[in-house]
Symmetry: C2
Subunit: 357 residues, 2 copies
Amino acid sequence: MSTRRPTIADVAREAGVAPSTASVVFSGKTPVSASTQARVRAAADALGYAGPDPLAASLRRGRSGIVGVVFEEHLRSVFSDPVKILTMDGLADGVGEVGAGLLLLRDHDPAETAPTLTTAPMDAAVLIGCSPLLRESLEAVRARGIPVVVIEGDAGEGVPRILLDNREAQRRAATHLHALGHTDVVIVTLPLASDTRAGWISVDAEVRIDVTRERLAGARDVFPDAPTYAAGGSFIDEGFAAGRSIFADESHVPTAIIAQSDLLAAGIVHAAREAGLRVPEDVSVTGFDGVEVDGIAPAELATLVQPAVDKGRAAGRAVTAMLDGRAADSVTLACEFREGNTTAPPRRGARGVHRPG
Amino acid sequence: MSTRRPTIADVAREAGVAPSTASVVFSGKTPVSASTQARVRAAADALGYAGPDPLAASLRRGRSGIVGVVFEEHLRSVFSDPVKILTMDGLADGVGEVGAGLLLLRDHDPAETAPTLTTAPMDAAVLIGCSPLLRESLEAVRARGIPVVVIEGDAGEGVPRILLDNREAQRRAATHLHALGHTDVVIVTLPLASDTRAGWISVDAEVRIDVTRERLAGARDVFPDAPTYAAGGSFIDEGFAAGRSIFADESHVPTAIIAQSDLLAAGIVHAAREAGLRVPEDVSVTGFDGVEVDGIAPAELATLVQPAVDKGRAAGRAVTAMLDGRAADSVTLACEFREGNTTAPPRRGARGVHRPG
DNA sequence: TTGTATGCGTTATCAC
DNA sequence: GTGATAACGCATACAA
């Protein structure tokens, strides 16, 4: 018994044909007579040959059939973020046309052996978000001549982007609050960077994550001086922590809170209830994303519904196009404001601007 | 200007060293003097060399750093199934230790170019579910000498399995209903096969999907003759359709319904309400999975909470072990019954009322 | 229709 | 510490 697996050369020898002939039998690229075909198959069976080695085949033809999907955070967080899940759904759909597999990647890898943005065998890459950190490795990827598409981020010149109208959309929510009469508003943002801690931030704090920056800008277009708390991630628990911090000082409770995600908003609603505040009578809350959040019924968040699935699908199409050698354009998708029931005019006797204590 | 990308050989030539030396500079496997190291790096920069080609490197070293995750259904369905998402989460965690990337695959591919179970460049495979259809391709994979682990399925001899105590768990729910006095029970199952249509099935209908079969067996251990409706998938809408069918005949409404998933159960609750039935006063409902389902509050499903994340993590660990050349054992994880508030003794006047106890 | 020859880009192994 | 060489396993252009 030979210790190594049989190769196509072995099969060819066993069948008494040339390696190229055997190869063609498996790929079907060229007509082969039924008799030799049968001989080759028989030889393959006899030897326990399982078909061409994917790695070798890929090397030879220069394509792996793999599209890398790169996330900024820890990989498992993808599966806890409802928006990302929807986007992946759309992406799977979009690349399905070209029939590629999706390889889940992180930007930099703690372990040594893992495939990363620079070392994964992929034909194209889709970045979800694009921090400055990621932008470096991206340079290497582009040097490899691999098509790249970015969802919600800026990867520089020549990289097609799939975007939302984050700033405009967030401004719409803020305008809605303003029209109701709110002036005493607190903003709760997504993380400022991939490694920041939660807490109150100053007006001129540097925001390294695009989505966060855009949505913040939209809110500040209407409420330039609103105190701002940056969360550590888009989780209900983070929103809850933010809410506790905001409601800690009972003598200064804002009349409205603009959260940059629905999960954050849900946590804030929980915190408000804990503090004995009614939503929206005592405090209005708006979210962002338009995902279904469990556990805050009968509250139904005022939010910006984003086309999460379409985002992924658009990215998939862009990748497909580039792989075909066609050009791909950037796309901006629009969010839709859904009023819900978590906003109302400010309560009577609202105090002045809330200050973090 | 050469039209092709530079290779490590080009870099070596440019730097005036041997290809092997240049290679070592990038891999760091062998000490290299600082000076040559610098020369090589400089040459790489000058040529715009982006590092070793992953495909070629993988071919040479026989490892791609990729773990394939295979699903029975359309790939995008993964992202709409809360249980699978949790399992993926755990899996990402589990393989993270060995630092592998996760490649999402379908078992058979409509398009030609996509990597499939048999053509993807992977070091190991994790199957989620294992239908007879899948079992064929699996043979080919094993022939390639690739370690395989199956979650919730049977892939035959020698393939480690990560299982739930589906039958026992479902029996526990059925026993609970029986103890409450129910005898007039309907079972709503998951799909019988990957392509079946929804509808009532006979007692001896063939069930090709393992999970469905096991859970059905558990329910029938207690209610052998219960009418059974097979859903077309684990969706709220499917449960709703099942419920409508069940409640269509007002003169004969069962006192309890055993659903094989929480999503199905949620749909059944909706259908019950639509039919003017109260849950649990008029009809009891049990689910399976223990995922949070939105929209049925204040109902809280009686269900079997399954350790979805642990399932994935266990699979990841098994893969890691096999990749290290160690043996991996099958694991059976236990579900926990959560009573919720959707079960109660059967309503008066129900056929065949039993005394509780 | 089949066979021949070559290269895809690396890296492991050994000698120096 | 560095270099020569030989695979890794396959697919394709081209000749027969």
